[in-house]
């Protein structure tokens, strides 16, 4: 059992550098967060037809996401129950069954063992008991707006309870489809960084860095994104319960007041999309098109940045892979083509934005290997944090409210004796910080 004293490492205004570098802490995180909490795995639209499959992962664990003949989704361990060989080595495809290449054991895409060669060796004509030797399923699976989540623990909060306010943000994204659904059909980039996974999570809704890290591209592209996070911005950073957070840019897009300004385009560029949205949503379409898509981090590994969907995969204490694809909406071909091009330009190993983020994660990782001053400072905006009408802590656009929310949940999870704790709406936590009530 671990003897790590997390309460000594996580304080209201600072966290200890060893949280990013200690292999024992990483091993503990795998057990307590990645193999126990709800973790995002894949999207239903990646396996649209019966017998479709795609390889996915929870940290270092590889899973096959399948759609069986009856249309049901399954999340299966990619490990033969005989001697551990991988039963699937293809990233995606179509298969009603998976045959292990080592000794020919054959599994239906539901995980059920169909048969083994030469069954007499198992003491009877039928071979080993198929009921006990199917591919392992995840303990729990649930879906919200097509986003498929899994927990490797049999007990714990429901997905809906886990998602808390982040569930509405995923719904808000789906509502921007004229058919109310996402279609993640454009494949994935896999970008590796020599950094601990938490540096990625913290960066995703850190509104303090864009003006600096991305100043080069904002300047040459004439982008106004930096101002959304400036000192005069009306946008807010919001900490949901359970470590989720968002940069809520709606106040800024509302101020601009022009549909599709959030995507840097105008209605005349995507007329098919705009008319399909007006047909579906009527008078409400203008509001939806003006407020735009969310910028939300779903603990611990799903990040949606308006037009891009990121999945964080920790592989070692100092190695993380960030998978990324473009948001694509059912019924929006003209907008989809533009989102794909914009996303490809922005993200991944060569992305005009993300390459510089990755540079920062890696320099952070190198930095925390230095032993002094030991701590990372997380206090920005703590004195001007307030509680909004829904009971969530909010800070200014470039405050560290999201980072503090992440660490509150992390501390609860890493110190809870029986699995991931669920936050309560009143914000009571193991770490109390002063609040300014200013709803």
């Amino acid at each position: 059992m671990t003897t790590i004293d997390y309460r000594a490492l996580i304080e209201p205004q600072r966290v200890h550098g060893s949280l990013y570098t200690d292999p024992a802490i990483f091993a503990d995180e795998l057990e307590r967060i990645w193999y126990r909490s709800w973790v995002y795995v894949g999207h239903e639209s990646e396996v649209p037809e019966p017998d479709d499959f795609v390889l996915k992962h929870i940290g270092p664990q590889e899973l096959i996401m399948t759609r069986a003949a009856d249309g049901a989704l399954h999340l299966l361990s990619n490990r033969c129950t005989h001697r551990g060989n991988a039963v699937c080595v293809q990233r995606s495809g179509r298969a009603a069954s998976f045959r292990c290449p080592y000794h020919g054991w054959n599994f239906r895409n539901t995980g059920a063992l169909l048969g083994v060669p030469h069954p007499e060796g198992y003491g009877g004509r039928r071979g080993p008991d198929p009921a006990t030797l199917g591919l392992a399923h995840v303990a729990r699976m649930d879906v919200h707006e097509g986003f498929v989540f899994a927990s490797l623990a049999a007990d714990g909060p429901t997905l809906r309870d886990h998602l808390d306010g982040a569930a509405d943000e995923l719904s808000r994204l789906a509502r921007l489809s004229p058919e109310g659904a996402l279609q993640l059909t454009t494949g994935w980039l896999r970008h590796r960084a020599r950094a601990n996974w938490k540096f990625l999570v913290e960066n995703e809704t850190d509104g303090y860095h864009p003006q600096f890290v991305h100043g080069s591209i904002f300047r040459v592209a004439g982008s106004g994104i930096g101002e959304l996070y400036g000192e005069r911005s009306a946008a807010v950073t919001r900490a949901f319960e359970n470590g989720h957070s968002e940069n809520d840019l709606r106040p800024e897009f509302g101020r601009i007041g022009r549909p599709l300004a959030w995507f840097g385009t105008t209605e005349d560029r995507v007329p098919g999309y705009v008319s399909a949205m007006r047909d579906r949503h009527g008078d409400d379409a203008d509001r939806l098109l003006t407020e735009g898509a969310p910028h939300v981090m779903v603990f611990p590994n799903l990040f949606i940045a308006e037009i891009s969907i990121f999945v964080i995969q920790p592989v070692a204490v100092d190695q993380t892979v960030q998978h990324v694809t473009s948001v694509q909406f059912a019924g929006a071909p003209d907008l989809n083509a533009r989102m794909l091009q914009q996303c490809v330009g922005s993200v991944g190993p060569a992305g005009l934005l993300l390459a510089d983020d990755a540079e920062m994660y890696e320099r952070n990782q190198a930095g925390v290997a230095q032993r002094r001053p030991e701590w990372i400072d997380t206090r920005r905006g703590i004195a001007r944090e307030r509680v909004d009408e829904r009971g969530y802590r909010v800070g200014a656009a470039n405050d560290e409210t999201a980072i503090r929310g992440f660490w509150r949940h992390y501390l609860r999870t890493m110190t809870s004796p029986a699995g991931p704790a669920n936050g309560s709406p009143d914000g009571s936590t193991a770490v109390e910080v002063p609040l300014v009530h200013n709803p």
Binding site: R91, T185, T186, G187, W188, L189, R190, H191, R192, A193, R194, V213, G215, S216, I217, R219, V220, A221, V321, V324, T325, S326, L340, Q341, C343, V344, G345, G348, P349, A350, L352, A355, D356, A358, E359, M360, E362, A366
Partner: protein, 176 residues
Amino acid sequence: MTDADATSPPDRRAVEDFVFREARLADEHEYAAWLRLWTDDGIYWVPAADADVAKMSVIHDNHHRLTTRISQLETGRRYAQAPPSRLRRVVSNLELVGRVGGDGPNAGDWVVAANFVLVEVRRHHKTTWAGRVTYHLRPVDLRPVEEPDDGGFRMSYKEVDLVDRECDLPTLAFLI
């Protein structure tokens, strides 16, 4: 240009001169000179796992985005290349493959393919990149004498098919 110039295969040495020069300008971060090697309708493509322009790509730039990419590098605050990587690449196994067919803007451009191996050193880490590179070269009138000789071509297309495009890739912010 004479008719003979437009129809007979280009001189192999002239093609090599262009390709080797392109490689050296990229290695040495001569951004403005490298950008001048392109036609205005150029496409710079580094496929990802699916090798499909309708899916996610590592790079899929038209000339406008390529100009943005170069301008960002030139700010000196493209942190993923500030400081820049040290680079050296070898381009070899070069073949003149044929010409671009159809009646698109690239029709008739010469198709040249080669293998490459590139060593990158950045912040004390050494990374090996390798793959197949395909160029579409468009003969152009000779430049004024004060400009360096570039073999009389412009690139209308450069595709870099990485051998590890199905794997996790580290940051690739230099010109590959």
